[in-house]
């Protein structure tokens, strides 16, 4: 191991990995077009580009998921061709995926050591394995009972286990795909520290992220991909932020500046009259403790707060998709009696779920069927489907949302992420809702589609719809919302409106609430990790860790089959 450390110590000398003329073709698409890509020892290299720019294809070629159609990969000075991800990993190229690829039912220690367990007399030495696992993970800020199944850990902790596993397996190159998307600020700080440690020791990190702040904080160099080509590669520090965006978008910098980063218009004129949606004292026993909010027609209400603060849970509860112990929901003055997605939809509530793939699209069905799905009862008579009515509705929305497809009969799985999201929006708008709940409406879609979706949200509000907007993109939240309700630990801790709506104010609202109840919090809620919560905490502020369970919940549920019971089951 000292060898590696010394290599790292000698600084960024020579490439650890380089590609020349790398080409990858898919039917109808040139996904990688003559890509030259260099990675030096011990650097943190940002890989950026819009969706469809070729980032994931490049990663997959480097890690042996795809075989390239042309060009060469040289790794540690020799020609390399990995025919499986495993080969790449054994050679020292590890990928930490967004959806962490570990085995939930196995213990933490076994996940860490799978395939390289310490043996005694040919059999696995569990005592030693557990001891070593606990020791290793402590250095990653993970302090848990390593004999327990991994599924008890938060997403962030699982990611750390995956990272530790890669390092234990002697990785030279670690590829991280959107590593912070499910982390809280405090966890992000830890991750950055760990990445710093990797760099010190000569391990190269490829860092894929859409969050520019993070890139500038920790990355040394950047490679920008667009349409399968490398459009820029070089030091990140000297590259202006605006220039970077324009490289990614292929638009001129001035244009970006003029239009701003988002395409929201100004504040909406608040309509007079009663709120279209009132939620009072929502409580689900676990994540929501008395959330109340109201949305007026024509208003975009932002829901602010950290991950796990109860934003998604609030939206799901309002939409009838999650069980509530108590609380009242009123739509246009009429209380919602039955709680189910069906009842909420009938009352005029539509929710765009956070996870497009697992909860939104029905991949094998056509664009048309996907749009008509929720509105089917209105597009039919006596249980019989009216094709004519469906066509009419579908045509209207395909045109209005500019859904690009080879025809409305095309499978929705074949569309780009942005167009899929528009199909989902069309599904909900086809219901003629009064209230639209948008949970991360622009996550994971390309910049162009993002702008269109933001513009659409604006338009819809102008037309009198009440919109609830959840976004972890602060900029989007601040610019898009007329008013922001701030959540923390499942309770409302503040509200910003008018000129108060700003990033700084939002941060302050969260931070103030935190110091106010931090002490009580510590005493009251035992941290399952068993740590004595003392000291100043990390650089990210003393936010209480919530296990990330709010976020992990639906995903873990989707992975383990249908485990989150909807309202119907609770009846």
């Amino acid at each position: 191991m000292t060898a590696t450390a010394e290599q790292g110590g000698s600084g960024a000398a020579g490439p650890v990995l380089r590609t020349r003329g790398l080409t990858k073709r898919f039917p109808g698409v040139l996904a990688l077009d003559d890509v030259d890509f260099d990675l030096s020892h011990g650097e943190v290299h940002a890989l950026v580009g819009e969706n469809g720019a070729g980032k994931s294809t490049l990663i997959k070629v480097l890690t042996g998921v795809y075989a390239p159609d042309g060009g060469e990969v040289r790794y540690l000075g020799g020609a390399a061709r990995f025919d499986t991800p495993l080969r790449a990993q054994q050679a020292g190229i590890s990928t930490i995926y967004q959806e962490v690829n570990l085995i939930p039912l196995l213990s933490v220690a076994r996940n860490l050591f799978l395939g390289r367990e310490p043996r005694r007399f040919g059999l696995i030495d569990f005592a030693r394995m557990h001891r070593e696992a606990a020791g290793i993970l402590r250095d990653y800020g993970v302090e848990v009972d390593v004999t327990r199944p991994l599924q008890g850990l938060s997403m962030g902790a699982r990611q750390m286990v995956a990272l530790a596993r890669a390092v234990v397996a002697d990785a030279r190159v670690v590829i991280m795909d959107e590593p912070t998307s499910s982390l809280e600020p405090r966890e992000v700080e830890t991750l950055f520290t760990v990445i710093g440690g990797l760099r010190e020791r000569g391990i190269t990190v490829v860092y894929v992220s859409h969050r520019l702040d993070e890139l500038y904080r920790i990355c040394d160099r950047v490679t920008v991909l667009r349409d399968g080509r490398v459009v820029h590669t070089g030091e990140l520090a000297g590259l202006e932020r605006l220039r970077l965006i324009s490289l990614m978008l292929g638009r001129e910098a001035e244009q970006v500046e003029r239009q701003g980063a988002t395409t929201f218009g100004g504040p909406h004129e608040r309509r007079a009259g009663e709120p279209v949606l009132v939620a009072e004292e929502l409580d689900d026993r676990h994540r929501l403790h008395g959330v109340s909010l109201a949305i007026r027609p024509g208003e975009v209400l932002g829901l602010g707060g950290l991950l796990g603060s109860g934003r998604t849970e609030t939206a799901r509860a309002i939409a009838g998709a999650a069980a509530l112990r108590s609380g009242r929901i009123t739509v246009a003055g009429v209380p919602l009696r039955r709680r189910s997605t069906g009842a909420a939809i009938a009352a005029g509530i539509s929710m765009l779920p956070e996870d497009r793939k697992s909860e939104g699209i029905i991949p094998e069905l056509s664009v048309r069927e996907n749009i008509a799905l929720a509105a089917m009862p209105r597009l039919s008579r006596f249980g019989l489907v009216s094709e004519r009515r469906i066509d009419r509705v579908v045509d209207v929305f395909v045109e209005r949302l500019r859904i690009k497809s080879a025809g409305t009969r095309q499978k929705v799985a074949e569309l780009s992420g942005g167009n899929q999201q528009k199909v989902l929006l069309a599904r909900w708008l086809a219901l003629n809702p009064r209230v639209l709940l948008l949970d991360e409406p622009t996550r994971g879609i390309d910049v162009g589609a993002k702008a269109e979706v933001q513009r659409l949200v604006d338009e819809l509000a102008t037309e009198g719809l009440g919109v609830l907007l959840i976004s972890s993109d602060l900029e989007e939240l601040i610019e898009g919302a007329d008013r922001v309700v701030v959540l923390k630990d499942g309770s409302v801790v503040g509200e910003l409106s008018g000129d108060e709506v700003s990033e700084g104010a939002l941060m302050r609202a969260i931070a103030d609430a935190d110091t106010a109840d931090a002490d009580a919090d510590r005493g009251g809620r035992g941290d399952a990790g068993g740590a004595a919560a003392e000291g100043a905490g990390g650089p990210g502020g003393p936010e209480e860790h919530e296990g990330g369970a709010g976020r992990a919940g639906p995903r873990a549920g989707a992975a383990a089959g249908d485990t989150t019971p909807g309202r119907e089951g609770a009846r």
């Binding site: 779920p353 697992s358 939104g360 991949p363 094998e364 799905l373 929720a374 019989l384 489907v385 909807g566």
Partner: protein
């Protein structure tokens, strides 16, 4: 199927496989027809067609219900046992008249389906497990109720199994009507669309306000009901209730008919015409082998090969 499929696959997988999935079943049927017309004596006789049509009835009716279940992404392994349950009911309740007996048999089938459906939809049990338990328990229950074969002498039931209207056996009429009903349900009704949507992405269906659980329950009830119909008809044709052997391993034929017909096992899509052709294909295959004096042993081994080949070809769609 294998003989035709395999060399073609080597030519251009990306085009041939989807095409084969869609139309392979029809080609298989056509090939078997051509083969039989050329080589099997007396194949082209009205009598033979009548026999074939009657013999395909149970599998065909089962596969209709199975197709709907598979379209939701589920499976029903219990259909054979439900047939046995229906057969036992016929025998037990024949004393109250044939109509009552048949009704009780159908209710029993629907009830078994409802148990399956409730376990799958409301308790969240995997379809394989729930219906496996019903497969074990249903057969056991039928044997408890009717320990051995019981001949049926009721003329009405015998007429149902052997008689015809306008020269076409009642059995064929009934299966034709059921096919028409299922085609209508799948094509034209909201229920039919929901089945496919749930199979495609259940969570999305739930969040879109579809009555997912109710739909699933209804699908399994339908499947149980169809299995009971098949059991009643098979009993009528056999002129005996035989809960021990009726419907043994028939779930395999039904599943194969559905899969060969272009409905993928992971759901999200359903092909009724293909399913009918699939059932016909399985029937023709077995009868061809038997007509050419292959013993049951080799017939079964050949069936095994066809099933695996069919599932192999059908699998490609699911892998994306």
């Amino acid at each position: 199927m294998t003989a035709i499929g395999m060399p073609a696959v080597r030519i251009d997988r990306t085009r041939v496989v989807p095409w084969l999935q869609e139309y392979g079943v029809y080609i298989g049927v056509a090939a078997l027809l051509v083969f039989n017309i050329a080589l099997t004596p007396h194949f082209l006789s009205l009598e033979n067609f009548r026999t074939q049509a009657v013999q395909v009835t149970p599998v065909l009716i089962l596969s209709l219900g199975m197709a709907l279940v598979i379209a939701t992404g589920g499976i029903d392994l219990s259909v054979g046992s439900v047939m046995a349950l229906a057969a036992a009911m016929i025998s037990l309740y024949l004393g109250y008249g044939p109509v009552v007996a048949v009704l009780v048999a159908l209710v029993a089938g629907a009830a078994a389906g409802a148990v399956n459906g409730a376990l799958v939809a409301f308790a969240g049990v995997q379809a394989i497990v729930a219906t496996l338990a019903m497969m074990i328990g249903g057969r056991g229950l039928s044997l408890v109720l009717l320990p051995q074969l019981d001949g049926i002498r009721n003329p009405a039931i015998r007429e149902l199994g052997a008689g015809d209207a306008f020269g076409v056996p009642y059995l064929v009429w009934i299966s034709a009507v059921l096919v028409a009903v299922v085609v209508f349900v799948v094509r034209r009704t909201v229920f039919g669309r929901r089945i496919v949507a749930i199979g495609g992405n259940r969570r999305a269906g739930e969040l879109s306000g579809l009555p997912v659980r109710r739909t699933l329950l209804a699908v399994y009830v339908l499947c149980g009901l169809f299995a009971a119909v098949a059991g009643v008809l098979a009993t009528a044709r056999l002129q005996a209730s035989d809960p021990n052997s009726i419907g043994r391993l028939i779930e395999l034929s039904a599943i194969t008919a559905v899969v060969v017909g272009g409905t993928p096992l992971q759901g999200g899509r359903v092909r009724i015409a293909g399913t009918v052709a699939g059932a016909v294909l399985m029937q023709l295959l077995v009868s061809t082998l038997i007509k050419h004096d292959l013993p049951p042993s080799w017939t079964q081994i050949a069936q095994t090969a066809v099933i695996i080949a069919a599932v192999y070809v059908a699998r490609e769609r699911g892998r994306k």
